[in-house]
Symmetry: C2
Subunit: 271 residues, 2 copies
């Protein structure tokens, strides 16, 4: 039994879909979520800079006495996961590995597709992980630059989103993949459109779900779960604007967001 | 193979969660949805009146050449399902039966809870169906008058919704039910809050999901499915205000809502 909270971080609100899955599947655990809004987006920054930000946040969360850290951000996972795992005492779980593993387990015809941001596709992380797990898999990545802006817009479920999804899905259908990795934390919000476009015969693997599952299994295997019969709590920290976080965050979390605390950047760097 | 659409109706937008599940699990089928907004809510009306409305809509949909009708409304199912099944030539599927059946299948300790509106609880339909399927089940219904207004409010995921859910869930946790029927088409919108409050050990049974599954199985068993490799279409009819339908409907459907056509009440009654 371990009463300490789990730490989760992202550059913005996308990681809230990972927190969402964690809160739904581990209602007995406490969580603390940090959104680095003051410095988003991480995507266009040099990897070395994202790595430095991630190390600052990782150390900060460790000082908050968390028992495990989730890097709920594709860019930060690509840039910094090995360094965080080497430097921090607590276990660190990122996105990418859990969903790559799940996709290789799920595919029957060994054709796997990926929908993700331009940066994630270009990093080649999913491709190399999938091939490391099964060298015989045909892997088809598709960059989807229009999806994140549409999901953050006023009409995430509109026809423009559907037509964008149809366009990005077309080469994957052409390639007859039976499994698609949704490799961006924003994508669970448009799950119904994705499921309808791909149809029942394609398995969709969401990073939020697989990462939450990895967190739950890790807590259980290490014997650091909290008591089972309690109601967990969760709190939010942001380096940016608290009201903006709450407004956009509600849509991603789909659970109450009470107080959002501000953390000054200098608190992150004052190690 | 049968190219005709499936008809779905409700007094308002709640039935869109049933249509949502149908569209996601049967992307190859065409659907037509009728919302009787001009006469909602059905809940407070005499059963005989709701039965008459349902017969009008059933006949109207049959004249639209549908191959199956889904009564996506608890009140109309309670009031009119047997009459519709007797009078219409096409198969008619209602809510209530599918989820009662699923709950009896799912329970391990034979303690089943129900969260639903006051009217649904008072009708006793779920209780009698559950007992007809397994007379040994202990059944615990809870009326939830605050949930529908909260789900239709501006802040469906807020703390007020969570505290209402905790209040309604308390007697079911006390009774140690292992399965809960969510007996109102509005409730899928707050699924994350419900799942978090009940925890992982309780099976939640949603009427929208179970009804969509019943529709899919019925089409398959009767051999009246549409071609598998096509993209289905769907359209909307309302007896009320088209803009209001589209605005509230988006949140319930989570898929694009293109045109909404107006149907005058006299078209329903002109049999």
């Amino acid at each position: 039994m371990d009463p300490r909270p789990v730490g989760v971080f992202d550059s913005g609100v996308g990681g809230l879909t990972v927190l969402h899955e964690c809160l739904v599947t581990m209602p007995n655990e406490d969580f603390v979520y940090l959104g680095d809004h003051a410095r988003l987006p991480y995507g266009p920054r040099p990897l070395a800079e994202v790595r430095e930000f991630s190390r600052e946040i990782g150390s900060f969360l460790e000082r908050q006495d968390v028992k495990l850290i989730v890097v709920a951000c594709n860019t930060a996972t690509s840039a910094a996961l090995p360094q965080l795992q080497e430097e921090l005492r607590v276990p660190v779980i990122g996105v990418i590995t859990p969903e790559a593993h799940a996709a290789v387990q799920a595919t029957r015809n060994r054709r796997i597709g990926l929908l993700a941001t331009q940066g994630t596709v270009e990093s080649g992380r999913y491709a190399s992980l999938v091939r490391a797990l099964d060298a015989g898999v045909a892997f088809h990545p598709v960059a989807c630059p229009r999806l994140v802006p549409l999901i953050e817009s006023d009409d995430p479920y509109g026809e423009e989103t559907e037509s964008a999804v149809r366009e990005y899905a077309a080469p994957l259908k052409e390639a007859r993949v039976d499994t698609v990795i949704l490799g961006c934390t924003h994508y669970p919000l448009i799950r119904p459109i994705l499921q309808r476009v791909f149809g029942r015969d394609v398995t969709l693997v969401f990073s939020a779900e697989e990462t939450a599952r990895e967190v739950a299994e890790t807590l259980a295997r290490k014997g650091i779960e909290h008591d089972r019969d309690r109601d967990g709590a969760y709190r939010f920290l942001t380096t940016g604007d608290q009201a903006a976080f709450r407004e956009m965050g509600r849509r991603f979390l789909q659970l109450p967001i009470a107080d959002v605390e501000h953390v000054a950047l200098k608190e992150l760097t004052a190690a």
